[in-house]
């Protein structure tokens, strides 16, 4: 059982606040993923939870007990580092047993815990090897094993897969998901910059940007109902197209006249007072379809990228507007240099005013 609570947590280096107003409730058994661009403070936040960085403001509690001043080892947490941080002079067995030895556990207890962790992670044949004699994936598993033997309340993962090659990353990602299944009562916090890891592993994602939390929600909430333009563009690849325009009809269905001359219809409801509001219309590339009728966007295809299952169409820039990208199912290499008209299903067209989604007013 471990409920984590962060209330107005902040981190300042001297005058500079790199994190502020962090409010987060994490329930037992959740797997929370912190994502965000480089330098957004996601690793710093994780290290503050671990106790490796001082919390300069606010309260951090685990099960109601304030943890700000508790030394890292006594917080009931275990951390898996990006670089694995294995002790190079110790065998796999000693690496995993180190914490238990320091805690003065009996030899039998240590052996049992290490053997169990090794069995879960399929490390039994490697127990007497030094880390340098292991492959990257095996080292990663030892790092996870070192966390498991301590039987912590909270697991912290700091970009654990970023040093692995692409194939191994997918395999290890699935292993972590299975590990989570086996330990339904443990809480995990996972930092990554990889959206796929975030979308597949998380029970909830915390998007960090500009020193604060941009949005917290389940992966599909973030995908379907982004709170602001940043989350809308950060989640999903290629990122969401944003096209400026003006509301010309309100009601259950909003109609926007776009600056590029197109028309977009959105299922986001608006009030009569919104008439004439300057908005950005957001449509994901995969939600754009070719049309012969009313088009949100018409332009010449500059480059096509046929991936087999889908084809990405990159359109010529019009003035200083952002480049529009569409993702059509199937192979459409023949569309290069053709002029194509696109529209989106109104249920999948987002509206943002001043960067905020109109859904959340």
């Amino acid at each position: 059982m471990a409920d984590l609570k962060l209330v107005d947590v902040e981190k300042a280096y001297g005058e500079v606040k790199v994190l502020k107003n962090i409010n987060l409730d994490i329930k037992t058994g959740e797997l929370i993923v912190f994502v965000g661009p480089s330098g957004c403070g996601k690793s710093t936040l994780l290290r503050m939870i671990a106790g490796l960085e001082r919390i300069t403001g606010g309260d951090f509690t685990i099960d109601g007990v304030r943890m700000n001043e508790v030394p890292p080892a006594q917080r009931g947490i275990a951390m898996v580092f990006q670089s694995y941080a294995l002790y190079p002079h110790m065998t796999v067995r000693d690496n995993m047993a180190f914490a238990l030895k320091l805690a003065k556990k009996s030899a039998a207890e240590i052996a049992a815990a290490v053997d169990k962790a090794a069995r879960i992670l399929q490390l039994t044949p490697y127990l007497d090897r030094l880390p340098k004699a292991l492959s990257g994936g095996q080292r990663q598993r030892v790092a996870i094993g070192r966390a498991i033997v301590r039987d912590p309340k909270v697991y912290l993962f700091d970009e654990p897969l970023s040093n692995l090659d692409a194939a191994l990353r997918v395999a290890t990602r699935i292993e972590i998901a299975q590990l989570k299944e086996q330990m339904p009562n443990s809480t995990m916090i996972y930092v990554t910059h990889d959206q796929v890891e975030a979308m597949t592993l998380a029970s909830r994602i915390v998007v960090l940007a500009g020193g604060g939390i941009s949005q917290v929600g389940t992966p599909l909430e973030l995908y379907e109902r982004p709170e602001n333009e940043f989350v809308a563009q950060f989640i999903g690849s290629p990122s969401m197209n944003l096209m400026p325009g003006e509301v010309v009809a309100t009601g259950a269905e909003t109609v926007v006249s776009l600056a590029n001359g197109g028309m977009a219809r959105s299922a986001v409801p608006t009030q009569a007072s919104d008439l004439g509001l300057k908005v950005n219309v957001g449509i994901r590339p995969e939600d754009l379809v070719t049309t012969t009728g009313e088009a949100a966007f018409t332009g010449e295809v500059e480059i096509t990228e046929a991936l087999g299952e889908v084809t990405l169409l990159y359109f010529k820039r019009q003035g200083d507007a952002a480049q529009v990208v569409a993702k059509l199912p199937g192979i459409h290499a023949e569309l290069r240099h053709k002029t194509v008209a696109l529209a989106g299903d109104p249920r999948k067209v987002h509206l943002f005013a001043n960067g905020k989604s109109l859904l959340y007013r």
Partner: protein
Amino acid sequence: MNPALQALIVIVVGVGGCVGYFFLSNLFLDKVLFPARGPNAGVNTSRANMIRPWLFLFPAMVALGLYLAYPVFATAWLSLNRNGEFVGLANYSAMFGEPKFWESMRNNMLWLVVVPAGSTAFGLLAAQLTDRIRWGNLAKSLIFMPMAISFVGASVIWKLIYDTRPVEQAQIGLLNALWLKFEGGIGSFLLLRLLPGLFVLAMLALLLWAVWALLRPLVKGGSAGGFWVLAGRIVGALVALFLAWELATWLVGIAGNDLPYGQPMTWLSMPYWNSYFLMAVLIWIQTGFAMVILSAALRGVPEDTIEAALLDGANPFQIFFQIKVPQIMPTIVVVWTTITIVVLKVFDIVLAMTNGQWETQVLANYMYDKLFRALDWGMGSASAMIIMLLVTPILVWNVYNARKEMR
């Protein structure tokens, strides 16, 4: 001509000559011998690159051959001759019959263990303690400074510290001045018996722990590491055991001996202890060297292994001894063996401070005695060969370790 001016000319000509040699020979290779143009440009470039290392190594190889390799063989030959006649191993057997030779051997062995151990231990301590403090760099420069002093200069400084004057005169030696402050009261008990006793006891405990830590994997029968690690562990344990034995005898002395309060001591003529007073000089010099190298090694220990240990619940001592020290063990070994080689060659300090009297003789000074005072070329060369035999295996091992470290 003024000698300073001469020195300046030598420096200018020497450095200028070196630069000129490398620059001009390189130019000759690239422009005249194998010019990188014409139909053979590609072949010429790769040929020039094959020759270039030899070109640059040539002066060093000639100088080393002339001043190092040749003398080794000449000395070996001299050691088998007496007064121009070949006598086989007679010089060696005569030398082995001399008690002064065995005194030198014994002292050298003592130096060999105490000085590297002391320098490395103090260096490691200084490196760790100065790592995280603001004035750490200042402290480091001060500790490193003795490295800039020549051995003879350091000996002169320490000879003043150990200096003795008759009791009615003011003492100019720091050690005697301090010693005469003690008169046998409670302060003397605290500072001369309790404090050093506790310190020695702590060191003793640390050494015994080190012996146990080194031998534990052998007892448990684990097989981490090959023959060299095994040999290293056994040698390390023996060294630690020897030092522990020395400290134990000190402890007995601290507890039991009557101290002659009020009399100035002639420190350098106290047999057994005077060797330690000489060793203090070399430890004082070499600690700076050990500190600089070990400090760099400690900074190279990955920060995240330390953080992982912190999360695993290790206290600062456990982090230092169980995470940091094992990770820099290869560097410690290199520092240790480098100092060992310096110690085997130790000469200046003994010559300048006691000249081998009062049972402080060491091999290098013994050799100097035979060669240049007794003018016995045979025995002098024989003792030189003994020193070389002792240094060579350590040197080879040191080079092997240093190269492994670099890879």
